[in-house]
Amino acid sequence: MSTPLKFYQVGSFAVGNRLLGDEQLSVQSRSDRTNSLTSGHRACQGCGEALGARYVMDAAMAATDGKVIAVNATGCLEVFSTPYPETSWRLPWMHSLFGNAAPVATGVAFALKAQGRSDIRVVAQGGDGGTVDIGFGPLSGMFERNDDVLYVCYDNEAYMNTGVQRSGATPPAARTNTTHAVGENPGASFTQGKNLPKIAMAHGIPYVATASVSDLHDLEEKVTKAMSMHGARYLHVLVPCPLGWGTRSEETIKLARLATESGLFPVYEAEDGVVTATKKIRKQVPVDEYLQIQKRFSHLFGPKGNPELVKAIQEIANRNIAEFDLLGEAQ
């Protein structure tokens, strides 16, 4: 899950390197990348979702010789990329309703099949609200029918477009505009939430993977692999949101890195419902390091803080580390 060049200054982890041969370059290090989501979009400064969407779609375009149709759920990504009459998309792209990206994508896939265009592939994408809440039922149907669609969820852990309301993917204790930091259990409720990668795995679909904007090489490999397969595939990408998380715009990638290195966001892939690979933690950090720099968790720290809740969040990370063997030897 890295470039084949080890032990260069940064060969294994940076986007590229001047010393790499053409065939060793990541999609994002190529001057001729598609820029599927191009400049001039109206995402906030440091938007993780804009970055994640370009990473995914550029990789998908590179894997299919530029033959991708994108179907978008309602959400930030749709709003900031296509305020009428402008569009930032440089590929065929359509938007219908908040909850129906999956069934519309299914329809596109079947229409292409009816036309005999097996070369054109379909990618559906949405935020966590459109995926784990509003579009949950139709998405489950798409999985169950094993329709030939890659569904990508850009998870920024709340409804950011409408003003930061809690979603089924909002982490415990996080403050949103519908889960205020008051009372005995401040912030979002302390449950598992909806763990969609696991729910997708439970459908036994050919491919499920998680990824983040902090590990480009891993993300591109997963998209490339997903595009080489057929049937229902699901990719869940963690995309930090400076606005909703209350973080500095330059720390978007750092936050994604801390989420994975603390164990709170396990990065893995599964085929036919079985985990086949996990991305190991390189430099483990306590969850505090990740939580402390986010205003949505500020009520957990300081004189009026809540060390018990921090401990409970660390427990979640510990469980992930144990479940996915995140500290084990890299494969």
């Binding site: 080890k6 032990f7 260069y8 200054q9 940064v10 060969g11 294994s12 982890f13 940076a14 986007v15 590229g16 390197n17 001047r18 010393l19 990541s26 994002q28 290090s29 001057s31 820029n35 191009t38 400049s39 001039g40 979009h41 109206r42 995402a43 400064q45 440091g46 938007c47 993780g48 804009a50 970055l51 370009r54 990329s81 009428y84 009459p85 402008e86 569009t87 930032s88 480009l216 400076p242 500095r248 715009s249 330059e250 720390e251 978007t252 990638i253 750092k254 890195r257 430099k283």
Partner: protein, 539 residues
């Protein structure tokens, strides 16, 4: 154009929307001073030549290196590499083995016969350099590269100064020294050996426009030690000089060396090679206080040199020296204890430091001496107009690398002085400190250590102790450079911008597209080497 109901605008790309107007800060590519360059007494652009070396372009790397220091093969053997002490990579895993890569480049240059190219236009100015040690040769090189005519006068039989007569051949093989000196001769530097300069002032009268005194410090310091007549007492400088001349002194089977500097260790290791059965170094303070470099001590101990810490020589008599045990007082100074011990010794070598032979400047109006060395101003000029001095003969750390730095600095100052100007240093960029690096992106890679001759074998000969790196290893080592504070083309900024506002240029550099850059700062934050600053926009 007819439009559907309620539609008034034409469809178009979001490129029409210049989001750069949102920006309050802009990213700016910067070049900072890497700690290795900052620490180099010879002023080498270490990061710069490693950058060339990383792509396997060794000749370009070498040419970049010799812009500042004409002796990479020598430096790669005898420099105490303060660059590596300063290297930021030490805080990630281990410092980059800069010194071994430098040696590799120097050896490549000798193998391939790479030469300097002197300028074709000559200045018509003549400069006399007194002494052919590292500072004299370095000054000669830099002056010749500026088109001046350079004559070096050397009192010894061969050029090199302390590099030939102070540093033993097992650390610096003479063919390496000869090869690097011959390159200077090839660009027209004239070296007149066996020629002692008595009066530098008369040289100016004889048509030299300036004189650079690079006379070194060749007199061994003596100390009074009560002694009988059966033990030979020599000074380390003479022992090393005689050995270099091929006429080594007879030292006997048991040798005691008195002192704690590099010269003491060189003398002890040389004594072993000359057949001494036992070589003991007596030093009055502790290992921590010892001025010799740790790597030299380690190699000496591996060769069986015995160290007697906290000891002084009280007297010498009939085949033995009597040493007194010392204790450190609260101020850290050694104090006698009255406990004595006898060591067998056929000869005693004093390595108590070196002094400058100042007879050459006696009687010259304006030249002043302080604490045994020649006083110079910031341009290395003495009190006599047109006479400059550097290296061990002036205040400063006495290392070959420092002397080479002096030579370069003197050459620039002389060049400016000849043109009636004052030399001005280029402004130094801010330091590329460790906290500006994003070390996440650097993969772990330990340093390749140069192989060493088996300690037991090497103590019998003057064969070179430390061997060089092979090409693959040197390349690997060069690529461990973090490129602190200077872009090395990793594409991170190009990849991580959420707004595609970084443009990758054909020459491998990058440019910010300010039409779309929103100033989020991710590029600066994720730059591995800290080569991007965020600068506030003017309101």
């Amino acid at each position: 154009m007819s439009k559907p109901f309620a539609i008034t605008l034409n469809i178009g790309s979001s490129l029409a929307n210049h989001t750069g107007s949102w920006r309050s800060e802009r990213p700016v590519y910067v070049n900072r001073m890497p700690p290795c360059n900052n620490a180099c007494p010879a002023g080498e652009d270490v990061q710069g030549w490693l950058y060339e070396g990383e792509s396997g372009n060794y000749e370009q790397a070498w040419r970049n290196l010799v812009r500042d220091n004409p002796f990479p093969a020598i430096m790669g053997r005898i420099c105490y590499h303060p660059c590596q002490t300063a290297c930021n990579r030490a805080d990630v895993d281990e410092a980059v083995g800069i010194n071994s890569v430098e040696r590799f480049l120097g050896d490549q240059a000798i193998d391939k016969g790479w030469q300097f190219t002197a300028p074709t236009t000559k200045s018509g100015r003549r400069i006399l350099i007194v002494g052919s040690g590292p500072s004299g040769l370095s000054a000669a090189y830099h002056l010749a590269m500026k088109g001046h005519e350079v004559v070096i006068r050397e009192s010894a039989a061969e050029p090199g100064g302390m590099m030939r007569y102070g540093i033993p051949a097992y650390r610096l093989p003479r063919e390496v020294l000869d090869a690097e000196i011959s390159r200077l001769v090839n660009i027209g530097v004239r070296i007149e050996c066996n020629t002692k300069v008595e009066n530098p002032e008369s040289a100016i009268k004889d048509g030299f426009d300036a004189v650079f005194l690079a006379i070194g410090a060749h007199l061994g310091k003596r100390a009074y030690i009560p002694a009988g007549d059966t033990v030979r007492i020599l000074d380390a400088v003479s022992v090393l000089h005689m050995t270099a001349d091929g006429e080594p002194p007879l030292l006997g089977r048991s040798v005691v060396v008195y002192g704690g500097g590099n010269t003491a260790l060189d003398a002890a290791r040389t004594a072993k090679r000359l057949g001494a059965y036992e070589a003991i170094v007596v030093y009055r303070r502790t290992q921590e206080k010892m001025p010799a470099h740790a790597s030299e001590l380690k190699e000496a101990l591996e060769e069986g040199i015995v160290m007697r810490w906290l000891s002084t020589i009280a007297w010498v008599n009939s085949g033995a020296v009597t040493i007194e045990r010392m204790e450190l007082d609260s101020a850290g100074m050694p104090q006698p204890t009255g406990e004595f011990e006898s060591l067998q010794a056929d000869s005693v070598i004093l390595a108590l430091g070196q002094e400058v032979d100042l007879s050459i400047v006696e009687g010259i109006q304006g030249i002043t001496i302080d604490d045994g060395v020649i006083e110079v101003n910031e341009f290395l000029m003495t009190g006599r107009d047109g006479i400059f001095a550097g290296g061990d003969a002036v205040p400063g750390e006495r290392t070959a690398t420092n002397a080479i730095g002096h030579g370069k600095h003197a050459a620039r100052a002389i060049n400016s002085w000849l043109e009636g100007q004052t030399f001005v240093h280029a402004p130094r960029p801010e330091l590329a400190s460790f906290d500006r690096l994003n070390t996440w992106y650097y993969s772990d890679a330990p340093k390749k250590v140069r192989p060493k001759l088996d300690a037991a074998r090497r103590a019998e000969s003057f064969a070179e102790v430390v061997q060089g790196l092979d090409e693959a290893t040197a390349l690997f080592e060069a690529r461990r450079c973090l490129s602190c504070g200077n872009c090395f083309g990793c594409d991170n900024c190009f990849g991580v911008c959420p707004d595609n506002a970084v443009i990758k240029l054909a020459d491998g550099k990058y440019e910010i597209n300010l039409d779309y850059c929103k100033g989020c700062g991710i590029c600066a934050n994720e730059c591995p080497c800290g080569a991007i600053d965020m600068v506030p926009e003017r309101s």
